[in-house]
Amino acid sequence: MLEHGGNLRDAAREYGRPLADWIDLSTGINPHGYPVPASSASAWHRLPESNPALTAAACAYYHAPAMLPVAGTQAAIQALPRLRAPSCVVVAAPSYAEHAHHWDQHGHSLRHVPYAQLANAVDSCDVLVVCNPNNPTGAHIAPEVLLDWANRLAQRGGWLVVDEAFGDTQAQAGLGPHAGQPGLIVLRSVGKFFGLAGLRLGFVAAHPELLSKLADMLGPWTVSGPAQQVALAALTDARWQDAMRLRLRDEGERLRQLLASHGIASGGCALFQWWPEEDAEAFWRHMAQQGIWVRLFRHAAYGIRLGLPPNEDAWLQLEQALTTWKHL
């Protein structure tokens, strides 16, 4: 299994500090999660057949013509490579590591291409996988550029897979509205923006034919009844979404400023900041000793990623930890 953020139990074991005494900044998940409504009894007792109201709510929220709910985009990331004959696949680097890992496991020939040089790789592959904005660097590609790539790939029967897991707080719209065209596959995550990572729910927007193949592969009852109910409430709550979008953009900017005031030039999006820290392992250890669990990238994106602190105390603790780091 690949290493991910959010592994607070590892931290607790390694540093002998109880789970409750950690500030977990190791993910890019919204710390102010959607207030989950109580689940009805039927959500638990009945088989969770697919609910057209949930799909409609997702299509409206993501502005996509057709979508399929999946048990986290992880389910789609694992299934998509199995829907194609062996192909030439390009995955942006650095990137969310699960993409490359799963394309690699299903007989495809895989190439890693630096995010900034993807344009040169479009015509020499069948499948291009890119996170927009990128995790963890926050780099971003304009929608019209991606659409052009999607068209060029589609002409050869290729795919453009765009993972918009962190797209909800972006000023620019996602590619959802165009996902009805063949060859464009857009992944959206409910876990990040809504702070509902435990729900295990994501959506895939793509051509209906591909969606039905994907649905067949994933099988029935993929999304639990309670998850369907919570997601329906969250996706239709425009008031919460509007206020949260602004709040997260403010907090993301606050995090960037806080780092900048400690001499760290970071990039990212509203939900996280990342920078290529020279001595990332020492930084990671220093933070852990202060009870702050950050994400250390040891390989492609060598550096540190920080999520948003959940409250003022945590902001203060982070600021103090950054101050002592500077004076080491």
Binding site: A238, R239, D242, A243, L246, D250, E251, Q257, S261, E312
Partner: protein, 317 residues
């Protein structure tokens, strides 16, 4: 000074005007700026018609502002000090800043979001229908800092320069900027004159205000932050005078203001102002206090100048 008032006299009249404003607040029944707004709207409908609209805009500005300012000047010649004070009282809005913003803080403190949204919508132009408590507190605090400049410091500055008529001219020009100074099809050319004149009239007062907010920072760290925010953030703000005032004020209060907001359903990207934690309901009162205490600081400065002037007179005599 242009008004012919001596410095000691000016200091006394300014203090009287501020006290009158704090005591009485806005006139309840017939606010002169409302009447002026109607006049300005009528002029705009009459003159904002064809495509070459810069000169009509300048003409409308002159017709709206100059006769009233001249009348104020003429009347001051007849009625003297009392009228200077009365005009300053009409132009000042220190008390009304609190009257409009304190209810927002109260509604937020009682978790009455719906009411807070309605009250905030009356004083800012951004969308508040879906706003949460933090963004309402932010909107109100930003409005207090920015309007502290227009309704208090710009007015006091021009009163110091030209007495009651100066305050009147500034306030009318400022109102026209608020009505016509928009970057859209209808106002881009017509409102250009009003916007540039307001930029000009506010240039010095805004910088004096920003400097005062630095001075009024409670601790050295607050002062330093206010100064740094002013220098680094103001240039990227879209208004040349609101930028220094709001960045310095937000820095002095240790708040993170600015940032993106929704106007007419569209996300507008705004640079950050200030630094620190997000605004809360209690910061609305802190912001008003900053404006009020800065007004007192200005009165003290003028009184000190007047004292020096008086002593110099004694020395020369």
């Amino acid at each position: 000074m242009l008004s012919g008032l001596s410095l000691p006299m000016l200091a006394g009249l300014m203090t009287a005007g501020v006290l009158l404003d704090l005591l009485l607040g806005e006139t309840r029944r017939w606010h002169p700026l409302v009447g002026f707004g109607r006049l300005a709207s009528a002029l705009e409908r009459l003159l904002n018609r064809d495509s070459r609209r810069f000169l009509p805009g300048a003409l409308a500005w002159s017709l709206a502002v100059l006769p009233i300012s001249y009348a104020a000047y003429w009347l001051c010649g007849l009625a003297g000090a009392a009228l200077h004070v009365f005009l300053l009282y009409l132009c000042l809005g220190l008390r009304s800043l609190r009257d409009h913003n304190q209810p927002i803080a109260d509604a937020l403190a009682m978790d009455d979001l719906d009411n807070a949204r309605l009250l905030t919508a009356r004083i800012v132009s951004r969308d508040t229908a879906n706003a949460d408590a933090a963004s309402l507190a932010k909107a109100s605090t930003e409005s207090l800092l920015e309007n502290g400049n227009d309704a208090v410091f710009g007015t006091l500055f021009w009163f110091a320069v030209a007495g009651g008529p100066g305050a009147v001219l500034f306030r009318l020009a400022n109102t026209l900027d608020a009505m016509w100074g928009y970057r859209n099809e209808r106002y881009d050319w017509f409102g250009c004159c009003a916007a540039r004149i307001d930029d000009l009239l506010n240039y010095l007062p805004a910088r004096l205000t920003a400097l005062s907010y630095v001075v009024m920072g409670k601790t050295m760290a607050d002062k330093k932050r206010a100064w740094q925010c002013w220098r680094s953030q103001a240039p990227s703000w879209n208004s040349p005078n609101a930028g220094p005032v709001m960045a310095s004020g937000a820095g002095a209060l240790g708040l993170a203001l600015g940032g993106d907001a929704i106007y007419d359903g569209e996300l507008e990207r705004r640079p950050p102002l200030g630094a620190g934690r997000p605004a809360e309901a209690r910061d609305i009162d802190r912001a008003w206090r900053l404006v009020a205490e800065t007004a007192v600081l200005w009165l003290i400065w003028v009184a000190l100048l007047a004292g020096l002037y008086y002593l110099r007179g004694k020395y020369l005599a």
